[in-house]
Amino acid sequence: MIKKLLAWLGALLFAIFSIYPMLYVLGVSLRGDNAFQSQTLEIITSTSTVKNFISLFTQTDFLMWMRNSLLVATVTTFLGVAFASTSAYALSRFQFRGRNMMLFSLLATQMFPPTMLILPFYIILSKLHLIDSFFGLFLIYSSTALPFCVWQMKAYYDTIPKELEEAAVLDGCSRWLTFYKIILPVSAPALVITALFSFMASWSEYVIAAVVLQDPQMYTLPLGLRSFQASLATQWGLYAAGALIVSIPVLVLFISISRYLVSGLTIGSVKG
């Protein structure tokens, strides 16, 4: 009984830990002009107003940033799922030369400090005339999200019994059809996770977007939000309201797929 109580207590403590920062942002966004600095612990006070939310939508280009972000994230997600599901399948089911090398190189891409990629990325993109173009972003986002996605898709395929395909092949299915009709449907949870990761990678990415996008008409949400944050005069109220709204789509996404999350996220064995 005491143990149960302790477990409850621990869970409640961490619940507060995980939710409080977002409540704090909510509190800041509901305060007036000088939102950030106020010595109160209450989230909603008598002076709370939704002014910041209203001006976010009426006085800034928030909706445009939102549209750009949605476009970028959708395309990236689509590319990520298409490429990760196919190549992970090949890695999982077929033995070929250099397969272990390839698996390890996926892991190795995660080891390079991302900061040092900025300058070379810029050089490639400007040579390809992809500065100020969403194509540059699609290319970089889907490629940087891919290693993890391929890795985790492969781990999921590994858990699917081979007999499933063997039966299909005996029935005369081609290999592509087997993959498409048999394997993909049963891999839905892992596909959802891949989609989620690709989406997250592009939705909240800032550093590369700042290099690639220079036209304010093309700004994505993180870039737009940062423009509230001038060197010496941040508009905290607007920033907090924006931050909250940026987090909501991801949260909704997480909640709607949470049933796949547990069954789909397999990082798998490392021995390849």
Binding site: F36, A90, R97, M102, I123, L261, G264
Partner: protein, 736 residues
């Protein structure tokens, strides 16, 4: 035939029409604050009305980011035509060769129309046309509280003491005599010459081991600890907010902030920063300009002409007047100084008087090293780990070393030839060794394995196209002398930077810190994650609800997380300290100004961010543990701990190990959190881990070659470590 001819004609007319109708697009990158941006937008609109063939695109970037992205852009051969920023950017930009001198474009008479401060010289050339003059610090006081501002520091302290009060008697100070962003050396710079000498001598040499620096350091310490008229911790935002809320009687800030206080409908006055009583000298704020520089890549005559048209318009009387009227800046054109908008503005008049005791802002790139070493040493004094005397000595040594590093042009050494030979031999060997592999690979496209190839290729082509080039590019610059002085024409020099990095004790201490960072983060991620997973799985009802609740930190974008937690750790206003004071009756902790607590703050933030991932992985692992095992254990009367120790843990491990491996790699390389929570390594560069150190070396100190070498070392460390852990894992699995 006629049809074809007509068609061609049609296409031709169409294309010429398009070419004719296509407008010239001129880009400007700037760092104007919000109020100024709106005036700029209006000026641009006016310009576009007058010049329908040109469109202007103004892009806002934060000051530091403007620098680094402009460097990358200009280096890549493009970038905006005009870059707008403070005058101290021309030193580095001109040295890198990414902005062009304006002397061939404008004649002497044109420059003479401007205040000399607005046309700073660097190496006897003009690189900037200032749009305004000022950017200087001054004393701003709340007229409701203070009628006449203090003239001397003795008066300042007396008035300050009078207004530093605890209004409601709760032992906490509710109003301060003076507030300012005193952790930033720029804000104490005016005091330095008032106590002794200037911070630079002979134009480009640091002069920090002086009475001036010691005196200024001690003065701020006294204000904080002896007279207690400034808050214990105070950054720009805090100072600004305190002043605006009437919780501070006086403030030291620059002319750019006036608009903010006007908008808040404050009754404020400005004055010189009080004369230092001990020496009888006035503090001397740095006076500079903010203006436009011309990108070196603008060469096409038509484009240059259009750009100059824009530049002339934006520095014209009309535009400057617009800015003066709207946001009260001092125009740079001398002809406007007698204009009623300037003459009748009391703020501008007092401000001109303040400028007479000012010092022109140094524009040489070396100033950056001076600020950086002052900041590092000074923040150590504030944290109590150095005396002003030692700090001044240390700052001088450090600035000299940084300048030496910055200006160094490394010459090729023997190792370059060895490397070239090794690379050559290696390539030949690789080609020879892989000839059958490559042939087999190519043949495979027609073989039975074709399916595998087509499945594999898209993803790997994408990954390698994006990763391979940057990777080799980095290897190349890590072996080169790429830095401030060789920005446009770097060459390979050998392993110099690797030797330099590996012989510095700093590298090892940073490595140790990175290890502590990684281990403590991953430890908490995993323990919290597994704990919550087990509790959700075995104890709590409504599993989905709890699961969703604990996922929240994962769903929030990282940069938002970082800035939110930075706010929560604020000494004065952060909910963490408010909680400690109100409910636990502890004294507030200066989280972000002590190296240890600042590092702890970064870890707490990252723990918050990372535990949900591990929790989800663990939940997945728990699902696959058969219930029957627990039932058997129950029959054997095993207690909860034994069940966890002998069933859950061993069966969970295979699922957790790869997640831990990835977690370690991600945490090791996590720049965002450290950089944003500690504001770039504050206090005093003591919260850096390896990646944030690399970032700083490359983008703040222009040491690209060195930064690339360190990042290659990071990469090698991680490769070695993960190969090692994979091997032990493999052995374990074989044994069992």
């Amino acid at each position: 035939m006629t049809f074809l001819r007509l068609w061609i004609l049609w296409v031709l007319t169409l294309t010429t029409n398009i070419a004719h109708a296509e407008k010239m697009r001129i880009q400007i990158w700037h760092q104007m604050i919000y109020g100024h941006r709106q005036v700029l937008a209006e000026a641009i609109q006016n310009f576009e009305k007058e010049n329908p063939d040109i469109t202007i695109q103004a892009t806002y970037r934060e000051t530091e980011e403007l620098r680094s992205s402009y460097q990358a852009a200009a280096m890549g051969g493009s970038g905006p035509e005009l870059v707008y920023g403070p005058s101290d950017q021309i030193g580095p930009f001109a040295t890198m060769g990414i902005i062009q001198p304006l002397d061939g474009i404008f004649d002497k008479e044109h420059f003479a129309k401007f205040d000399p401060l607005a046309t700073p010289l660097y190496q006897d050339k003009h690189y900037m046309l200032g749009a305004l003059v000022g950017n200087h610090l001054m004393l701003i006081y709340n007229k409701k509280l203070i009628a006449t501002p203090p003239k001397t520091t003795d008066e300042l302290i007396a008035i300050g003491k009078k207004f530093t009060v605890d209004l409601d008697g709760d032992g906490k100070i509710d109003r301060f005599g003076l507030v300012f962003n005193y952790t930033e050396p720029f804000f104490i710079a005016p005091f330095i010459p008032a106590f002794g000498d200037a911070i630079m001598k002979n134009n480009a040499q640091p002069n920090l081991d002086t009475e001036g620096v010691r005196g200024a350091f001690q003065f701020i310490l006294d204000l904080r600890d002896k007279y207690k008229i400034i808050p214990k911790e105070c950054d720009y935002e805090t100072a600004n907010a305190l002043f605006k809320q009437g919780k501070a009687a006086m403030l030291i800030n620059g002319d750019w902030s006036w608009g903010d206080y006007k908008e808040a409908k404050m009754d404020f006055g400005i004055a010189r920063i009080p004369m230092v009583s001990q020496t009888g000298r006035w503090p001397s704020p740095l006076v500079g300009t903010t203006g436009y520089s011309l990108n070196v890549n603008v060469k096409d005559p038509a484009r240059l002409a259009a750009t100059l048209k824009v530049l002339n318009y934006l520095t014209s009387e009309k535009t400057q007047l617009l800015f003066t009227e709207r946001v009260a800046v001092l125009p740079s054109l001398l002809s406007l100084r007698e204009n009623p908008a300037v003459k009748n503005n009391p703020l501008l008049q007092v401000s001109s008087d303040i400028m007479t005791v000012g010092t022109p802002m140094p524009v040489v790139p070396e100033i950056r090293a001076v600020w950086d070493s002052l900041r590092i040493q000074y923040q150590k004094i504030l944290a109590g780990s150095l005396t002003p005397d030692l700090a001044a000595k240390g700052a001088q040594v450090m600035a000299e070393a940084q300048i030496k590093n910055m200006n160094e042009i490394v010459q090729p050494d023997a190792s370059l030839w060895i490397i070239k030979i090794i690379v050559l031999l290696g390539t030949i060997w690789l080609l020879w060794a892989s000839r059958s592999g490559v042939m087999g690979f190519i043949k495979g496209f027609w073989g039975p394995q074709r399916f595998v190839y087509f499945m594999m290729l898209p993803a790997f082509v994408g990954i390698f196209a994006v990763i391979i080039y940057p990777f080799f590019y980095n290897i190349a610059i890590s072996l080169s002398n790429f830095s401030l002085r060789t920005f446009q024409d770097w060459s390979l020099v050998g392993i110099h930077h690797y030797v330099e990095a590996l012989t510095e004790p700093k590298f090892y201490s940073l490595f140790l810190k990175t290890l502590i960072w990684t281990i403590s983060n991953v430890f908490f991620h995993v323990t919290i994650g597994v704990f919550l997973a087990v509790v959700i799985n075995q104890v709590l009802p409504v599993k989905t609800f709890w699961r969703t609740l604990f996922i929240i930190p994962w769903a929030v974008p990282q940069y938002i997380t970082a800035l939110t937690w930075r706010g929560m750790f604020n000494q004065e206003y952060g909910p963490i300290n408010l909680f400690l004071q109100r409910f636990l009756h502890l004294s507030p902790v200066q989280w972000l100004s002590q190296p240890f607590t600042a590092f702890v703050a970064c870890i707490v933030t990252n723990v918050w961010l990372g535990f949900p991932f591990m929790m989800i992985v663990a939940l997945g692992g728990l699902q696959s543990i058969p219930q029957s095992l627990y039932e058997a254990a129950y029959l054997d009367k095993a207690n909860a701990w034994q069940r966890f120790r002998h069933i859950t843990l061993p069966l969970l491990m295979p699922v957790m190990v790869p997640a831990i491996l990835l977690g370690c790699i991600w945490t090791f390389n996590n720049l965002n959190i450290i950089w944003l929570v500690s504001n770039g390594g504050e206090p005093g560069d003591q919260t850096h881990i390896l990646v944030s150190y690399v970032y700083k070396a490359a983008f703040n100190l222009y040491r690209y070659g060195y930064a690339a070498a360190v990042s290659m070392l990071i990469f090698l460390i991680l490769i070695a470590w993960s190969l090692g852990s994979l091997r032990t894992q493999f052995k374990k699995e074989q044994k069992s």
